[in-house]
């Protein structure tokens, strides 16, 4: 015969474990609900794939020192900064590809950022170096200055020479102006800092005028 106190203890333990089980079930349900709510509050739409559009790239050729227009189809975001970045990324991908007419390693990843700012009036050479990127107070239709921030590794691995460095600068400037005609001036930074030259030759302390670069392309001469 089981003693009475043991029966009572058994019943108490049974009730306790049932109650604990119920509480755990409740807690689990509540957390699950909370998690689902968080998930629901996140945007359900996947980031829209930018539609494929045509872009004119000015592709450099070391053999004859020319920069020639070629049309490519690529996904282009609506935002002008992202658009400029995507176009330059495609240009540098061409240069990094095997059999390139202007071989430069790095490709798309070499463009850290592209910022468009309202172009300064007057003498562009007087533009202070290291303009702080800002999208505030942008004139909706005025001429724009593109600040192209290149990565340190792109500059470090760029072949050194007057022709090759000049062609890289010319093709970037001409490509920006061809696709975003409001870009009339271009400045270059390396890892966010002003830099004296690209790889020992081409002057990066200046503001390049895109109209000037189009007319100075060797192909025109």
């Amino acid at each position: 015969m089981i003693p009475r106190y043991q029966t009572v203890l058994f019943v108490i333990l049974l009730v306790a474990s049932v109650v604990m089980g119920a509480v755990l079930w409740q807690l689990r349900n509540r957390d699950r609900q909370r998690l689902l709510e968080v998930e629901n509050s996140l945007p359900t739409q996947a980031p829209e794939a930018a539609p494929e559009q045509q872009a004119t790239l000015y592709v450099a050729n070391d053999a004859d020192g020319s920069v020639a227009a070629e049309v490519f189809s690529l996904p282009l975001p609506q935002n002008p900064n992202e658009r400029a970045r995507a176009i330059l990324g495609k240009l540098l991908d061409l240069y990094a590809a095997p059999g390139s007419t202007h071989p430069v390693p790095g490709g798309d990843a070499s463009i850290a950022h592209v910022f468009l700012l309202p172009a300064a009036d007057g003498n562009p050479a007087a533009t202070p170096s290291g303009a702080t990127p800002s999208t505030e107070n942008r004139a909706p239709s005025g001429p724009e200055l593109a600040v192209v921030d290149l990565t340190r590794s792109f500059a470090a691995n760029h072949p050194s020479g007057l022709e090759t460095e000049t062609l890289t600068i010319l093709s970037i400037c001409a490509t920006l102006h061809a696709n975003l005609p409001r870009i009339t001036q271009v400045r270059f930074l390396v890892d966010g800092q002003p830099c004296a030259t690209l790889a020992g030759h081409a002057d990066l302390t200046r503001t390049y005028l895109t109209g000037e670069t189009a007319s100075t392309a060797a192909a025109d001469r």
Partner: protein, 245 residues
Amino acid sequence: MRRSTRLLAVLIAAAVSLPSTAQAQSASSQAPPAPPARFVVVLDAAHGGSDPGARIGGLPEKTITLALSVRLRSLLSARGISVVTTRESDVTLSSERRAEIANHADAQACLSLHASMTGSGVHLFVSSLAPAQPVRFEPWNAAQAAWVLRSMALEGALNSALRHAGLTVTLGRTLLPIIDNISCPAVAVEVAPDDESGRASTQAAAASLDDPGYQARVAQALAAALVEWRSEGASQGEDIGADQP
């Protein structure tokens, strides 16, 4: 610090340009025929010292540019042309200092010599500054603007001599501090590998740049162009270094 050096450089440039204009004015006021002006060429072996320039095979660009400068200097001296060089040894020189040397020389031509592994033949570059009328106090970093048209004429003379020697020539415009700061006809000359070897292999390309035969061909063509440039100036009966067209 940097700004004050620039200011000093502007003052020096102004000081240099004043006597030269005075000289030009006195020359034009004299009765013809004008006495033959001293013909001076500035040779700038680019890079040097802590700035090795491009890597060409096992050699730094600075060594090749110095060798070319020395070779060209003796060819020009042999033809009775006075030569001023920016460096004769492996020393570090700022582009401001190089321009200062060039501007002090009161030269009729300045060649900034480079070498590169990309492309082939010889690349000639003139400043892409927009041509401007000469002014009394020109901005230090845009002194070349007043000389761009003369520089393009010099580039034309170099181009035809190099082509005549069977070399491939590529013409371009660029913004290069040393050239932009010079007040005389100035061209940057970049020697790239020989046409055929450039396409064969990297080693062959580097070897061709280091080849004395190829260097001699380029130097002789450049010297011939400068002799032509001197006679062109003499036949025009003017001091081509001091006057604008």
